[in-house]
Symmetry: C2
Subunit: 127 residues, 2 copies
DNA sequence: TGCTTGGTGGCGTCATGGTGCAAGTATAGT
DNA sequence: ACTATACTTGCACCATGACGCCACCAAGCA
């Protein structure tokens, strides 16, 4: 019933600990990225390096038009894409810098947690 | 019909371009992280900084036992957790280093794509 | 051989959400 | 006004998967 070696905190203490990680490990954002079709579209936009219209993207991915429209709107709502409507066409662009920064922050937040764990034992948190 | 400004590649070229990003933006991994309950369990394990048993974790998160067991197994299968079965108890531990590294690689892969785009115009890819 | 503990797996239920079609809206051009 | 373009949205269908209950199995112990 005891862990294999002397270790920092019990899970009960750990859950109650508030950490930057909990904000960054945001299920809403990750869910948006976790859908294969959306990942393709995002990757395409990042590779492209310029704003693209819904039509352009739909053409090259052989996905139904309405599907692409919905996915791009979803990603824009999640803050992953910038949408710029000019006349009747909408230019979507991926904000690569912001996305990269988010992932780096996430990595940093994970590093912060490692065996510096006295903070953990103090039990100041809220999960 | 033309983009608002002079820009690197067309989406048709972009999709065909093979990039490190496509491997790292793995929907299977992201889907595992995108589930709120799993995110809580993972965060708990990372904060804890030591291997925990299924029972321990289930106790502190007021979630049905079998649910926790399934989620931990799922994450282990995805490579996010290490599972170490000793006797009848299984010790799950989060590999924080690997996870942080993955996110940093992802960030780097995104950075790689920005307007250096001549690679993009060459059209050597496969989406 | 039983009994308990720690965990897994099956099943039914339910909610979420991705997809394609078709209809609707809004903008631009003639 | 008419038409074409560029999206958006409603709808029905379907697949996935999270959840809790319960039955099971496997390991340790008396």
């Amino acid at each position: 019933m005891t862990p294999p070696s002397k270790q920092p905190a019990s899970p009960k203490q750990a859950v109650r600990r508030r950490a930057r990680l909990d904000a960054l490990l945001d299920p809403d954002l990750l869910k948006v990225l976790a859908e294969p079709t959306r990942a393709r579209l995002l990757s395409c936009l990042l590779k492209c390096g310029r704003p693209c219209s819904v039509t352009e993207i739909a053409e090259c991915c052989s996905i139904d038009f309405s599907v692409v429209s919905r996915h791009l709107a979803t990603m824009a709502r999640a803050g992953i894409l910038d949408a710029d409507k000019q006349g009747r066409t909408v230019w979507y662009a991926a904000d690569g810098d912001a996305l990269a920064e988010h992932f780096r922050d996430l990595a940093d937040a994970i590093d912060e947690l490692r065996p510096d764990d006295d903070a953990c034992a103090s039990g100041a948190c809220g999960c």
